[in-house]
Amino acid sequence: MTTNGVATADAAAVPATGDRPGPGFWIGLIVGGAVMAFGVRGVFMDSRGTRPVALAGWIVGADLVHDLVIAPIAVAVGWTIGRLVPRGWRTPITTGLVATGVVLVVAWPALRGYGRAVVPDNPSVQPLAYGTAVAWVLGAVWIGVAIWLVIRWWGARSRR
């Protein structure tokens, strides 16, 4: 199997997953299938709490949001960096952007104060000023990126 650009003509000639399924695949399918069936059974057994239709919607929705929104955005950002950013700067900038994105995802509920809204009388939930906290973390990230860029620039200059 080719390693990138899976949809090449070569790749199409080989099944998408490469090797012929060995015994490992069938054992995994039987064991994993049984475990999945146990989980599905649990969802329906506890259906008053799990709300199977809503839960299935969230799981399939997570797939769709990733494939139709998150991944295309990531690809577009990568493409834009490839167009706009000089070659030597791309990795530090990309790393900075990835870190920024993940930090914002992790901090999002606290940043928006969703937990505090649920328990307004409990000041020990989300006790910090998260706007400031996120600014500190991202500040550190981008200072790191800047230092990395300077080192690269310095290295490139002294090699010349």
């Binding site: 998408a16 989980g39 399939v60 997570a62 493409w79 992790v106 409990n122």
Partner: protein, 392 residues
């Protein structure tokens, strides 16, 4: 292959549509291995937490090691958070495979690809719902613990199928001697992309994972608490210097907990019904215990508790000191109003009905006048505002 099966040469189906050299079998294998370990840790620690809260007849929550639940649940949340960038990097790496053509070349591949739906959707759901839950944010109509728990079984099942399908590819990709196409192309990608090599991509994924850990793990690991900038809790912030999950107001016990009518009652099988008022409890031999309070949501903190031993109270009521009991709170009917204490924990000298913490009477949000504190228990089972102990 007949021309019928030729890939449509548009958009993401075009040859070379995804140009980054960082998308290699080896990248996918390394990230897959890391995610397999992370999800394995999350599954086992989550299972332990579930068993602790809903023990089947064969499961007994041991009292020792006292900090075990603190470690397992701290690990559960920290590992889940650390897995977020790893999962995103993995999905980015294998995204082109979504467009592989023909989509279902064989029954085996069809089965494997169908299982990717619960694997990817389930993994994203588990990480997102866990993140929302530690922030006490519930933007869905279902019960979080049940949905998270059963989805974990479905996702782990799909993961087992995936591992079975990928084990030989992964093994091959991880062998150093097997260079992949990208190894020769690392810094010479001719096409437009962000220009990361495989190593750089992996370094970024693991680096960001480490960053997330660094700025959140302080909610359970005290020495790093000042760095816990993105954690929803600080282990040293709250009344009397540590966090609260449910306040007295939210529990509806503001009046009953402060009432002069307050009594502790010991009843149940074989017990001589006995009641104690606050002064009687304070007059009993007081014992100290240094024990963690470890929340299911991943924060934890160790405090100095002081109060009466549960086993002393049982002895006064004339029942065996290792009886299994149900501890009931003053709060009106709501989830976590009661919790069961297994005989192995009841008998432990550190299992207290605490009146004081860190040298002062309990704050009402920490369970004044009386709360259960025992070794190795999930925080939601350290019942607050205790008014009744029922021998089972």
């Amino acid at each position: 292959m007949s021309s019928r099966l030729a890939p449509p040469k548009v958009g993401p189906f075009r040859p070379g549509a995804f140009a980054s050299p960082a998308r290699s079998e080896r990248t996918a294998a390394v990230l897959g291995l890391a995610l397999g370990v992370s999800f394995g840790i999350c599954f086992l620690t989550g299972l332990y937490s579930h068993l602790a809260q809903h023990p089947p007849s064969w499961f007994h929550l041991s009292a020792r090691p006292a900090g075990l639940y603190r470690i397992t649940q701290g690990l559960h949340v920290a590992t889940g958070l650390a897995a977020i960038p790893l999962l995103l990097a993995k999905l980015w790496t294998v995204f082109p495979k979504l467009f592989s053509w023909p989509p279902f070349p064989s029954v085996a591949v069809a089965l494997e690809r169908i299982c990717l739906l619960p694997l990817v959707g389930g993994s994203l759901f588990l990480l997102f719902s866990g993140l929302a839950n530690i922030n006490l944010w519930y933007p869905w109509p279902f019960n979080f613990p049940l949905a998270h728990y059963w989805t974990a079984w479905i996702t782990i099942g799909a993961l087992i199928v995936h591992i079975g399908a990928k084990v030989s590819v992964t093994r091959r990709a991880l062998r150093r001697s097997a260079p992949t196409l990208t190894d020769h192309h690392d810094d010479s990608a001719a096409t437009v992309n962000a220009g990361m090599s495989r190593r750089q991509l992996l370094a970024t994924a693991f680096g960001v994972s480490g960053l997330v850990t660094l700025v959140t793990v302080g909610q359970t690991y005290g020495p790093l608490r000042k760095l816990a900038l993105l954690a929803p809790r600080r282990p040293d912030v709250g009344p009397q210097g540590f966090p609260v999950n449910r306040t007295a107001r939210a529990a509806g016990v503001l009046e009953s907990a402060r009432s002069s009518e307050y009594r502790l009652e010991i009843t149940g099988r074989g017990a001589t019904a006995t009641t104690f008022d606050l002064a009687e409890l304070q007059a009993m031999t007081q014992h100290r215990a240094t024990l963690p309070i470890a929340c299911v949501e991943g924060w934890s903190t160790t405090q100095e508790w002081e109060g009466v031993r549960l086993r002393d109270l049982l002895r006064r009521a004339g029942v065996s000191t290792d009886s299994t009991v149900r501890v009931e709170s003053l709060q009106p009917r709501r989830s976590y109003r009661t919790s069961n204490v297994d005989g192995s924990q009841t008998a432990d000298p550190d299992t207290l009905l605490a009146l004081r913490v860190n040298g002062a009477p309990l704050d009402i949000d920490h369970g004044y006048p009386l709360r259960l504190i025992a070794p190795n228990r999930p925080g939601v089972m350290q019942t607050k505002w205790v008014t009744r102990v029922v021998v089972l």
